[in-house]
């Protein structure tokens, strides 16, 4: 089992969600995040005083997957989240030791 984490631009969420759902992904967790990569931040001006805002708003998507699905799902996200402009985000995966469904107590792949 793997945990796939994707950081995307907030306005791409609906497209990504629809694409994942069409692919057959049944659940995900979304959280608001802030950060920067090569894009860095931007500047804002208030009454003539310029502030550089380093952290830009992003969304973090987390999905638990069976090992075999990871590459395909990552591909779906890349395709649906991509704008081609700087700041599109990143995707990474890490191995997961155990998964338990709280409602039934099922463990492992059954719980994914």
């Amino acid at each position: 089992m793997k945990l796939l984490t994707a950081i995307i631009k907030p306005h791409r969420l609906d497209d990504v969600k629809d694409a994942l759902s069409a692919f057959g992904v049944t659940g995900m967790t979304i959280s608001e995040a802030s950060g920067y990569g090569r894009q860095r931040g931007h500047s804002e001006v208030y009454r003539g005083a310029e502030y550089s805002i380093d952290l830009v708003p992003k969304l973090r998507i987390e999905i638990l997957l069976d090992d075999g699905d990871v590459d395909d799902v990552a591909g779906v996200i890349v395709k649906s989240a991509q704008t081609g402009r700087i700041g599109d985000g990143k995707i990474w995966t890490i191995p997961v030791d155990s998964v338990i469904r709280v409602r039934t107590g099922e463990r492992g792949s059954d719980a994914v």
Binding site: R47, G48, S52
Partner: protein, 446 residues
């Protein structure tokens, strides 16, 4: 013999309510501009003025402002102590040859001015003032600065009392609705308090951007709305003067917003909503003293100049190193000076005040009167406000401690948070683990 006129009285009472609405409007305008951790304290400073000033006004404030003058400097506090005698139908303020309004309508109208004058100052000391000290400052400043200065400017001989203040009757500076008495006064006091309290932690290093610009826009809109009472209401009657003041107020404000936005567009690259809201207030401030003496065209010019000058003046605090947090100096002091001195240039005898300024062939006669009036108020207000602030600061303290300032004055001074949007339920309020609502309430009460 003037008698009470129903139309005039109705307009003044409505205007009084309009002006009263400006102080909550100011609370929104200022509240949106601070960081999220001090929005409540910012709004509470305006509400504190609403709590304190009306009581003082009834007790002795009206009398110090509009009682019979002691040497042109201050009204006799004994004349209308506790508003004595003013409930009588004989107690009237003469508006014109045959029109009058009840003295109580005038009391109501003028109290709203006294409230907002001191509330304006709070913008200079955002994020860092002790609330109790502010409340005391409100009372002391109103007594020692506002009531006397309003007497100088607003108390005309024979209106509320036989003898009035020295600027209105001796210098004869034109300040129709309070460019000197309210805005230069509050601006100079704001500068004084900003110097006494010192800079916020991280001033000019950390971003201190407004936490809610929609509140700022709402506040600016409420101020603009209420300001029609402030300016057109100052005619004290429903007639030509009020109508001219209304139109001038509207068009100067429009031009000032345009002026501020033009500066931003060409200096900073973008026209901002904060710039629009600030331009509105700068224009309203500038047209306040001048709305009875300018033509509508003159008002456009004045508004444009005020918008441009104030848009640059708000940058001074970074150059000179004082933390006038929400630009009381840049907007109210500079806007007040532009409007008050602008009368000396742009006044036209066609307007209700019937005086020509320099540009209309009146020479420098009115210009020097305006300048003397403006400078007198500026210097008196700055010096006395500085002393009041300093004494409070050295005795009971005017500034919260560093930890409180970092955590936010809302928590430290009021034990509240402005917003609880989608918060995680545990660990908040009385529902924290190991606590219950009733338990935590009793703790607060104990």
């Amino acid at each position: 013999m003037p008698t009470i006129n129903n139309g005039d009285t109705a307009w003044v009472l409505v205007s009084a309510a309009l002006v009263l609405l400006m102080t909550p409007g100011l609370a929104f305008f200022y509240g949106g501009m601070v960081r999220v951790k001090s929005v409540l304290n910012m709004m509470m400073m305006s509400f504190a003025a609403l709590a304190v000033v009306p009581v003082l006004w009834v007790l002795y404030g009206y009398s110090m402002t509009f009682g019979n003058s002691v040497g042109g400097v201050v009204g006799n506090p004994g004349d209308f102590l506790g508003l004595k005698g003013l409930m009588s139908t004989d107690a009237i303020i003469t508006v014109s040859k045959d029109h009058a309004i009840p003295a109580m309508a005038f009391v109501a109208f003028q109290v709203a001015f006294a409230i907002i004058a001191v509330a304006l100052i709070s913008g200079a000391i955002a994020d860092r003032a002790k609330f109790l000290t502010w409340v005391i400052f409100v009372a002391v400043w109103s007594t020692l600065v506002y009531f006397p200065v309003a007497h100088w400017v607003f108390a005309f001989d024979g209106a509320a009392s036989e003898k009035g203040g020295w600027i209105a009757n001796g210098i004869k500076a034109i300040d129709f609705a309070g460019g000197t008495a309210i805005h230069i006064n509050a601006g100079a006091a704001g500068l004084a308090l900003a110097l006494v309290l010192g800079k916020r932690l991280g001033f000019a290093k950390e971003p201190m951007r407004p936490h809610n610009l929609t509140l700022v826009m709402l506040g600016a809109a409420l101020l603009w709305f209420g300001w029609f009472g402030f300016n057109a209401g100052s005619a004290l009657g429903a007639g030509t003067t009020a109508a001219v003041a209304w139109v001038n107020t509207c068009v100067a404000t429009a031009a000032a917003m345009g002026g501020w936005l033009l500066v931003e567009r060409y200096r900073d690259g973008h026209a901002t909503s904060l710039g629009a809201a600030s331009g509105v207030v700068a224009g309203l401030v500038a047209i306040t003293p001048s709305c009875s003496s300018l033509s509508p065209i003159g008002s456009i010019i004045l508004g444009l100049v005020a918008g441009v000058i104030c848009a640059y003046a708000v940058g001074l605090k970074y150059k000179l190193g004082y933390d006038d947090s929400l630009d009381v100096v840049g907007v109210h002091l500079f806007g007040g000076l532009v409007g008050t001195i602008g009368v000396g240039f742009l006044a036209t005898a066609d307007a209700p005040a019937a005086v020509n300024g320099l540009f209309y062939g009146g020479g420098v006669d009115q210009l020097w009167r305006q300048t003397v009036g403006a400078l007198a108020v500026l210097v008196y207000s700055f010096v006395v406000s500085y002393l009041i602030g300093l004494i409070l600061h050295k005795t009971i303290g005017f500034r919260v401690d560093t930890d409180t300032e970092m955590a936010g004055v809302d928590q430290g001074e009021h034990a509240e948070s402005g917003y609880d949007l989608a918060g995680i339920p545990g660990g908040r309020g009385g529902l924290a683990i190991g606590g219950h609502l009733s338990h935590s309430t009793s703790e607060v009460n104990a």
